[in-house]
């Protein structure tokens, strides 16, 4: 084209493969990124920790996953991520409720995967961390018999630290995943 040889883009390379291979790669990237997010939750490094509170990687993944997807697909991602996090901590109280709610809200707020939606992800994450942590705190205080005063005092600290850290770190997960899923969408098999 115009005598200039263009470097082949990842999209063009993928386009040459059959649809089933594309789907398989997409599933591997989506599932792999979620597993990585769940696996890294026990990690505390300088910058990944504030007053002993770490980054909520599964929540960032769920927010990224839910942008521009139908609500039931979004919730599905939230449930899967919640089950993984339950496995990493304790089964009850479950993280499934909070993450499913986060997924539903993200899908409602960002119904289309526009550039604005992706730019807004840190802000969305900041707000939705509060939703997710409140769901956990409510379960602890009212279903699992912990002292409500202690739980809500901890809730304040946990929510603020986690919201700040998670929103700052959210682009690390959401930017590459967002680009990947938009590319898959343009290939017709998101």
């Amino acid at each position: 084209m115009n005598g200039i040889k263009q470097k082949p883009q990842l999209r063009d390379i993928l386009d040459r493969y059959p649809v089933l291979v594309q789907v398989a790669i997409n599933v591997a990237v989506s599932a792999g990124s979620l597993l990585l997010c769940a696996t890294l939750t026990p990690l505390r490094l300088p910058g990944l920790e504030l007053l002993g509170v770490g980054v909520d990687w599964p929540l960032i993944w769920v927010v990224s996953w839910s942008v521009g997807r139908p609500w039931w697909v979004a919730i599905f991602g939230g449930v899967v991520a919640g089950l993984l996090q339950d496995g990493m901590t304790e089964f009850w109280p479950s993280h499934v409720w909070g993450l499913a709610l986060v997924a539903l809200l993200t899908a409602r707020i960002h119904q289309r995967a526009t550039t604005t939606a992706w730019v807004m992800i840190p802000l969305t994450t900041f707000v939705l961390v509060a939703v997710s942590e409140t769901t956990m705190a409510a379960q602890f205080a009212y279903l699992y018999g912990r002292d409500a005063g202690d739980v809500w005092a901890l809730h304040q600290k946990v929510t603020l630290c986690s919201a700040i850290l998670s929103s700052l770190w959210s682009p690390v997960v959401s930017w590459p995943l967002g680009r990947w899923w938009r590319m898959m969408e343009s290939l017709g098999n998101r």
């Binding site: 089950l83 339950d86 109280p93 946990v158």
Partner: protein, 289 residues
């Protein structure tokens, strides 16, 4: 029927993937995310520490020894009355590096880099310089998950070394914990050392936990005490895991508790009265010993 078949023709792949994802996630959850934790260990292997730095832990070690000494002195006074006196021996433990913290913000947990391959079983007791850290709640071949004593969900039966009064300890997600006593008017004061009691289900008796820093006698049912945990839970790097076995429980045998009213106090360690008044939590060392 036709609609269902048409939907299936269009969406079979999505449906199969969705069911597979849900099934796998459930499987991971039921297995306590064993392979994820193993993967975490493999991923963070370059970050794991070498030998523990002794200088950092010296302070906590001094505190632990002080508490152990107090416990032993108090126990000695009571053991003189017992015929079947058994000497307490140090139990062989498994040194384990701490490779991760809790996977969410609500549980006070740590992940250790040793598992069943090194002889750790569920229920094992985890100690650090300073005292009790917690107990193992899940194990994989090379990792184990520990519920810390600072978790509000871990309740531990305790006794006060000086007066042998009993209660239970509840974590507060930080370096302090609260103790509720069974008695209405227990003989406790700031500075008293707290150890696990013989009625503790998961821990052998006599392991040091912490020191009382404040007492709230205005609680309606029973008085509450604030305890500063002596193990440095937030900066742990290496811990010792003691397998949960009958031998362990025998070695840390608790003497018969003295009757709470009157008789316990005169027999108690005379040195304990010299414990200084409440000190700030940062410097709980006593200068009198």
């Amino acid at each position: 029927m036709y609609d269902v078949r048409r939907w299936w023709g269009r969406n079979w792949l999505k449906a199969v993937l969705a069911v597979a994802a849900l099934g796998l996630a459930l499987g991971v959850r039921q297995s306590r995310a064993g392979f994820l934790v193993e993967a975490y260990r493999a991923l963070t292997l370059p970050l794991h520490l070498g030998a523990p730095s002794q200088s950092d832990l010296a302070d906590a070690r001094v505190r632990e020894l002080q508490q152990r000494l107090e416990e032993v002195e108090s126990r000695n006074a009571q053991l003189q009355t017992l015929l079947n006196y058994r000497k307490t021996l140090p139990v062989e433990g498994i040194a384990s590096p701490v490779i991760g913290r809790s996977a969410d913000r609500w549980w006070q947990q740590i992940t250790l880099g040793r598992g069943t391959a090194d002889g750790i079983q569920q229920g094992a007791i985890v100690m650090a310089p300073g005292g009790v850290v917690g107990r193992v709640t899940a194990v994989t071949p090379h990792t184990s998950r520990v519920l810390l004593v600072s978790d509000p969900g871990s309740r531990i039966g305790i006794s006060v070394t000086r007066s042998r009064y009993m209660g239970y300890l509840r974590g507060k997600s930080d370096r302090t914990a609260t103790v509720e006593f069974f008695d209405k008017l227990p003989d406790v004061k700031p500075g008293d050392a707290i150890v696990t009691s013989a009625y503790s289900q998961f821990f052998p008796a006599g392991l040091p936990i912490g020191r009382i820093v404040a007492i709230d006698t205005k609680k309606s049912l029973a008085p509450e005490a604030v305890v500063e945990l002596s193990a440095p839970l937030s900066t742990l790097e290496w811990v010792t895991v003691l397998p949960h076995s009958p031998e362990l429980f025998q070695q840390f045998q608790e003497p018969v508790p003295a009757t709470p009213s009157g008789s316990g106090n005169p027999k108690a360690n005379p040195n304990s009265g010299t414990n200084p008044a409440p000190k700030p939590p940062a410097t709980p060392r006593t200068a009198t010993n």
